[in-house]
């Protein structure tokens, strides 16, 4: 492939991706009151709620004036979101800018992936294929363009690997990989896993500079984790984030790991296990140690995902948030394997005709395209239509519902009202009311309480990390919200005794429980019931 064609091809890919990303953002827009508004995946909106309060001078809290609880695990992302809230942007539009920023990070990540692939192979098809697979990998796009920090995390990991591999090739030490990994930890604490793996993978083959690697790598981890912990103790009065207690407390490690394994296996199986196994041939095809950091970062994220029992949205299929961030690294290994297999094919073909190489490249491109379809196969219906935007992406319908619920509740309550919610993002954000988190992400009492789990080894049952703790006696019986906007699925009977003083009203087709004696409900504005 000549150099000019290669560069043009890459630019075309970037343009196509930018168009796809903008179309994706448009597909997640919500039509409300004749206009268009934007909202994010509900977990991202929890971070947005913290960001809004921080930017408005209410502190890094979920409810303005409420108890300080660390109900997020992505501090740097929250700060970035807070930055957006410093501008005079309507709440119905702030999410749009988060999506736009994510699109920018994803675009930069594609560039980083191409450069990283160029560092490990001379075969020009490999960087293009890796960039193509990264660009149109649905789970990475979906998490990022719906407001999670996954795109930025992917960019930080890719650039850290890029700078590290470049330095390794130049036989020089560079602190940049560790600075970037440190930033990744500030973005999300669990980036400590790939940071440690990368440190080891860079230090081991680089005997002469091993000490520098270890000092900088372990130092970056220690400083960032230490800094975050000091801030947490000072601000929240706790050694660990509330989400840690919520997700890891009350669940045995063995059960969690078994469920994590099961979830990972389901992901690999539904994405076609053979394609995942393909890079396993790499040790036989390319033994260079320069590949170790890539393996290390990818495998550490997989191991972390298994250790924490997977993510809460595994039922939709595809890579979860932990694995999606390192899928671009996997795609480099995947494309590199294909490149090496192409070399093997060419070495075995007797014909030296000029058409042989382009034909094999064409086959590889076709193969990569088909593989992408496999990688983008989710467990939900019409996953290809969702990927290609013929249908709205996953989560969009629920986001729309929750955002509109928030707007509706703002209309029918006073500013003093409290609303109990299961999905703790969009409803509090758009209602602008104090909220009670029934599932405990923002409630230490629930987070420290027992988990309701009916899972067994390798059988997930009801297990969903962060969604297995509730206590209606406390959240409704004691805290007495003015409105109970949602009840966790399958627990209606459990909640019923605590809702006896509540009246069910349906607004725009959605049921809410209003406390009968609440002075914070604008009863006149509640539409008449059929």
């Amino acid at each position: 492939m000549n150099s000019r064609l290669y560069q043009v091809g890459f630019v075309v890919l970037l343009v196509l991706y930018a168009a796809y990303g903008l179309a994706f953002i448009q597909r997640t827009a919500i039509t409300a009151d004749g206009g268009q508004m934007h909202a994010l995946f509900d977990d991202a909106m929890i971070s947005m709620q913290y960001a809004k309060n921080l930017a408005h001078g209410d502190g890094l809290v979920w409810n303005p004036g409420g108890a300080p609880v660390e109900g997020y695990s992505n501090p740097l992302w929250v700060l970035m979101m807070a930055g957006i809230h410093l501008f005079p942007i309507a709440l119905t539009q702030t999410s749009f800018y988060v999506k736009l920023l994510s699109l920018l990070f994803l675009l930069l990540n594609i560039v980083a992936i191409k450069l990283l692939a160029e560092q490990i192979t001379e075969n020009k098809l490999v960087p293009l294929l890796a960039a193509f697979l990264t660009a149109f990998y649905f789970p990475l796009n979906n998490w990022s363009l719906q407001g999670m920090e996954v795109g930025l995390e992917a960019l930080l990991l890719s650039t850290a690997l890029l700078s590290g591999v470049m330095a390794l090739k130049r036989k020089k030490f560079s602190p940049w990989p560790y600075i970037l990994l440190g930033v990744a930890i500030l973005l999300r604490m669990d980036a400590a896993a790939p940071a440690l793996a990368a440190t080891a993978a860079f230090a081991w083959p680089d005997e002469k500079r091993r000490r520098d690697h270890l000092v900088w790598g372990l130092g970056a981890v220690a400083i960032t984790l230490g800094g975050l912990t000091l801030f947490r103790v000072a601000y929240y009065g706790d050694w660990l984030p509330n989400t840690y207690y919520l997700k890891l407390g009350g669940v045995s490690t063995i059960l969690r790991i078994s469920l994590g394994l099961r979830r990972f296996w389901d992901f690999v199986w539904s994405s076609n296990w053979v394609l995942f196994a393909l890079p396993l041939a790499m040790p036989a095809l390319d033994k260079r140690k320069i590949l170790w950091p890539l393996y290390g970062v990818f495998l550490s994220q997989v191991a972390y995902s298994i250790y924490v029992g997977g993510d809460a949205w595994e039922h939709t299929g595809g890579a979860n948030r932990f694995i999606a961030a390192v899928m671009p690294v996997f795609f480099i290994l995947f494309a590199h394997t294909l490149g090496r297999l192409q070399d093997l094919v060419l070495a075995n073909i007797k014909s030296r005709s000029s058409w042989v190489a382009p034909v094999t490249q064409g086959f590889l491109a076709l193969f990569a395209g088909l593989s992408l379809t496999s990688f983008n196969t989710l467990l939900v219906q019409d996953s290809i239509a969702k990927w290609t935007l013929r249908e709205k992406p996953v989560f969009t319908e629920s986001v729309e519902r929750y955002a509109l619920m928030g707007l509706a509740l703002r209309e029918v309550t006073t500013e003093e009202a409290t609303i109990a919610v299961v999905t703790a993002g969009n409803i509090p954000y758009f209602s602008e009311r104090a909220a009670i988190d029934l599932l405990g992400k923002n409630d230490p009492v629930i987070a420290h309480g027992p988990a309701h789990i009916n899972s067994s080894l390798f059988e997930p049952g009801s297990y969903r990390p962060g969604h297995n703790k509730w206590d209606y006696a406390y959240s409704i019986g004691v805290l007495q919200p003015d409105v109970v906007a949602q009840i966790w699925e399958g627990t209606d009977e459990e909640a019923a005794p605590y809702l006896v003083n509540y009246e069910l009203y349906v607004i725009d087709g959605i049921p809410y429980y209003f406390r009968e004696d609440s002075p914070n409900v604008l009863w006149d504005l509640i539409p008449p019931q059929e």
Binding site: N272, W273, V274, L275, A277, A281, A284, L285, L344, V345, N348, I349, L370, S371, S374
Partner: protein, 546 residues
């Protein structure tokens, strides 16, 4: 340092034989368990029954053995509602013995297991001829032995296992003869027998003939002579017998499946279901052997590909099979899957050899073999995917295989109908096998497999697409005529409905039928029927509250 074990060639050969023995024993245990899983109890008696299409053939076989001729209804019109003549004769053979109808299917299932076992031995011989590695044939045999779709069709009474055996045997003999250079007519003989079992076997017969006419220049005339001669002979004999006995040039199933269905619809559906099969089996595994064509296009490889592609092409041409919604290989492709497995194992082994150059140590070679085995084992899971819950449990016979629940229902319904009618009763059915066989009553085939008039009618409209292939059409399941089947032929009982009950309602009303739910089965019974035992019917009506 730990040394890799060095295995002497003699020991290796012994171990390979031992491995084969273990696979064969495991297959026999599996078959026993599988067959057991297809049986069920009705009123305290254990019943063995076959997949419904096979039971249509059984009905013909019973009538033939009982001296009533090769017909669906004893004393009824002669209609060729089967497409597997030799298999029907084989079934008739068992009906010559005094075996209860609840047990006779077991004999067919056991013979299916025997054919599959024989096929494994042939695949072993074929693999030993074809594959270079000593251990690789074991993997090909393993994949064949535990390939659910081949086992399922065969052990539930279809002729697929026998056809697979004939195809494997013909391929093996052809390859052996070609390597040793003397000409052999036996491959053609086996495939010609195959055409008597099922006429579609003309496809591999033509492919084999063409292949060797191309590759074996010296014996070209003999290949063409035997191949085309036997093909013509088989077709002439079958057509002659059909003309004499049924007065038709073609089987009734041909008219049913082809007339009125545009070629483009057939091919569209065929392509779509083949695409689903490839995708569902983990597409990469299916396309992997194409590497052989690019890198190592040796004559045996080309022969296997030609035979396999012949079957795939035929499946696409006829629009696939009627049960594609279950997933996996249909009957046409399943019989050639052993050849695919040979290609698959060969590809993996060639890649292993290319990756692990000889200079590598014995440990690397040992690990390479281990990885090869692990990939093959894992692939078996992909190949055995079906579009149902608990696919693995059904494959491993932990749960009963697909189709069995339907079979049990039809058998129970057949026995019920026998109880509530006298011997002159006529029963209209959609599934024309088990109900009629166990009811022992004259049947009216509403979907026309055994009804010339319906088979020659135009199919009902379809509006399907690639996304919903069964809406394009379902081979053999898209022609019906309620005016004929219900009003004109006036069955005493309409045991099943096809499509919507709203469409059928006017005909049921015109025919004087009323709805009864008996033992949980919804039945439409003609109220003026003299062949219905009304006392029993009235005593067995399911109360409305149930």
């Amino acid at each position: 340092m730990l040394k890799a074990p060095k295995i002497q060639p003699k020991t290796a050969k012994f171990l390979a034989f031992l491995g084969l023995g273990l696979i064969l024993v495991a297959f026999l245990v599996y078959s026993y368990r599988f067959i057991e899983r297809t049986s069920f109890e009705v009123d305290g008696e254990r019943y063995y029954a076959l997949f419904d299409d096979a039971m249509i053939s059984m009905q013909y076989a019973r009538n033939l053995a009982g001296g009533n001729g090769l017909v669906w209804n004893a004393g009824g019109e002669r209609v060729e509602g089967f497409s597997n003549p030799l298999w029907v004769f084989f079934m008739a053979f068992f009906h010559l013995f005094p075996i209860a109808s609840s047990q006779i299917s077991l004999a067919l299932q056991i013979s299916g297991a025997v054919f599959l076992l024989a096929n494994l031995l042939i695949v072993w011989r074929l693999a030993s001829e074809y594959l270079e590695d000593l251990w690789a044939p074991l993997l090909a045999v393993l994949l064949t032995a535990f390939y659910f779709h081949l086992n399922n069709w065969t052990l539930q009474g279809m002729e697929v296992g026998l056809l697979a055996l004939l195809l494997s045997a013909a391929t093996w003999l052809a390859l052996r003869a070609w390597k040793a250079k003397p000409f052999s007519f036996w491959p053609y003989m086996f495939l010609a027998i195959g055409t008597l079992v099922r006429i579609d076997m003309v496809v591999p017969l033509v492919v084999l003939t063409a292949f060797f006419a191309w590759k074996d220049e010296k014996n070209r005339k003999r290949h063409l002579g035997w191949g085309l001669g036997l093909l013509a002979g088989s077709l002439i004999v079958q057509t002659g017998l059909r003309l004499w006995y049924y007065g038709e040039w073609l089987p009734n199933t041909y008219y049913l499946k082809v007339i009125g269905i545009p070629l483009i619809d057939r091919i569209q559906r065929g392509l779509s279901v083949f695409g689903d099969f490839v995708w569902g089996s983990g597409w990469f595994l299916i396309v992997l052997p194409l590497l052989l064509l690019a890198l190592w296009p040796e004559p045996p490889t080309l022969l296997f590909f030609a035979l396999l592609l012949g079957q795939i092409g035929y499946s696409i041409f006829v629009g696939g099979d009627a049960w594609e919604h279950k997933g996996g290989a249909n009957r046409f492709i399943a019989l050639a899957m052993p050849l695919f497995f040979l290609l698959f194992v060969q590809t993996l082994d060639k890649v292993r050899r290319a990756l692990l150059q000889k200079k590598l140590g014995k440990w690397a070679q040992l690990i390479g073999h281990g990885v090869l085995g692990a990939i093959v084992l894992a692939s078996l899971f992909s190949f055995n995917i079906i579009n149902e819950n608990d696919a693995v449990a059904k494959w491993t016979a932990l749960k009963r295989p697909i189709f069995v629940a339907g079979t049990q229902r039809y058998v129970t319904l057949g026995l019920l109908i026998q109880e509530i009618t006298d011997e002159q009763a006529k029963v209209a059915v959609v599934t024309a096998g088990n109900i009629i066989y166990f009811a022992e009553r004259a049947g009216i085939d509403m979907l026309g497999k055994s009804d010339k008039v319906i088979a020659r009618s135009q199919p009902h409209d379809s509006s399907g697409s690639f996304n919903n292939v069964d809406e394009i059409f379902r081979p053999g399941h898209n022609k019906w005529d309620y005016q004929r089947s219900i009003v004109e032929l006036a069955p005493d009982i309409v045991a099943q409905i096809w499509g919507s009950s709203r469409e059928m309602a006017p005909y049921l009303q015109a025919g004087g039928y009323e709805y009864f739910e008996i033992d949980g089965f919804p039945l439409y019974i003609r109220v003026d029927s003299e062949h219905v035992l009304w006392d029993i019917v009235n005593s067995r009506i399911t109360p409305a509250s149930e």
